[in-house]
Amino acid sequence: MNVGTIVLLGLIVTGAIIGFYRREQLAPPALRLLPYFLLFQFAYQLAASLYSFVFTAHASNHFIFNLSIPINLIYFSYLFHSVIMAKRKRNVIVIGLILNLIFFFVNLAFIQGFSFLMTYSRTLMAASLVVFSLLYFTEAIGAEEKPYEINPLHSAPFWIITAIFFFYLSSTLTIIFWNYFVVNETNFGSIMMRIFAFVLYAMYVVGLLLHRPAKVRS
C-alpha cells in the first residue's frame, strides 16, 4: 500500500465523517445514505489493498472490485432518481439500472467471469452514469417549473454528480486509450486514475461541506 492509496482512503473517510456530521441537513434520502456508501467504498478499497499487498503476495484482487460494481450501480441510480424531477428521465434511469444489472450477471456468468476485472461492465456503468449526469444537467439548465431553486455551489448533489460525470468520463477514456495504445505504460494509467479518484472524492467532501437545504418557492 503506497502513500497515494492511504491519502485516497483518508479522503474517503473524511467525506464519510462530514456526511454523518451534517446528516440532518442532507436531503433527499439518497444523500443521507452517502456517508454509508463512502464507508462501503473505503471498506472495499482497503480490503483490495490489504488482500494484494498484506495478506497475499500480490494476488489478483479484481474480484473485490467486481463485487462493488452492482452496489455502485444501485446507489448512483438511486441518487440520480431522487434528484431528477422529470418522470421520463427517471424512467430512463430505472431502465438503465436494470439493463446494467442484467449485463453484469451475463458478463459474470458467460463473458469475463469473476476473477478477471470486469471492464465491460465497468465501462457500461461509466457510460450510463455519464448519460444520467447529462440528464441531470439538462434538467438543471432547462426546466422552468421547479418548486425550489438551488444555487449549484450550495448543492451537494450538484457537486457529487459533476464529480461522477468528470471522473467516469475521464477514467473511461483513459482506460480505453492508454490501455490499447500505450501497452507498456502501465504506471501512467494508475497515476491518472489516482488523480481522477482524488478529484472525485475531494469534490464529494466540498459538496458535503457547502451543502445548504433548498428553499421552497412560494
Partner: protein, 251 residues
Amino acid sequence: MKTFDNEVVIAILFGSLMLALIGAFMFVMVIFYQRRKIRYIKEQQRMAAQYEHSVLRAKMEMREETLRYVGQELHDNVGQVLSLIKLYLSRPQVSRTFDVEPLIDQAIQDIRSLSRDLNIGRAEQYTLSKFIEQALNKVQKTGLMKITFQNEGFCELPDAHKRLMICRIFQECINNVLKHAEAGHLSVELKTENGTCVLSIADDGVGFDTRAANDGAGLANIHDRINLIGGEIQIISSPGKGTNVTLKIPQ
C-alpha cells in the same frame, strides 16, 4: 526514472486540465442559475404589479357600477316622487285634499336606501354574504326575475383584495344574466367545502355556447381575475339550457 518523471508530469498536467474543465463547467452552471433567478424575480415583480393593477381596476369598476345604479335610482324613483310632490303642491285645490306626507316619507326612505347602497359599494368593508344579499336585493327590485339565495356555513375571505375581486366577478355575472340570459329564475348559493368557498350562480335563461363565448373579453376578464387570486371557475351552459357559474376560492 526519467520515464516515471515524465509520466508524473503528464499525469499532473492532465489532472490540472481536469480541474480547469470542472471549474469552467461549474462557472457556466452558476451563470445559468443566476440568469434563471433574475428571470424569476422579474416574473414575480410583473405578477405583483399585474395583481395590484387588477385590484385597482376592480375597485374603480365597482364604484362606477354603484354610481350608475344610484344615478338611475335617483332619476327613476326619487326624482319621480319629488316631481309628483311638486305637482301636487303647485295646485292649491289638489293640495288641500291630498296628503303629500306619505310621498315625502317614500322619498326620504329611497334616499336612505341609496345612501346605504353607496356605502356597500365599498366592498372591502363588508362581508361577502352581505354584499351578495344587497346586490340580489337590487335585482329583486327590478322585478325581472325570481331570486333565491342560500348561504350555508361560514364562507368569508379574510383578504380584502380577494373579497373585492370576488364581489366584482359576482357583479359581472349578475350583469351578464340581466343583459343576456332572459331568465325567469336566478339561484345563488354560497357555501364552504373542505376549506374552500364555493359560490354558485345559476339561471334558467337562454344559455350560450361556452366554446364560442371564450373569445369574448368579458369571460376572459372573469377568468383572469379568478386566476390572479388562486381560485377556479367552472361555467356550464348550452343554448336553451340555462347557465351555471361556479367559483371556488381557497379561504
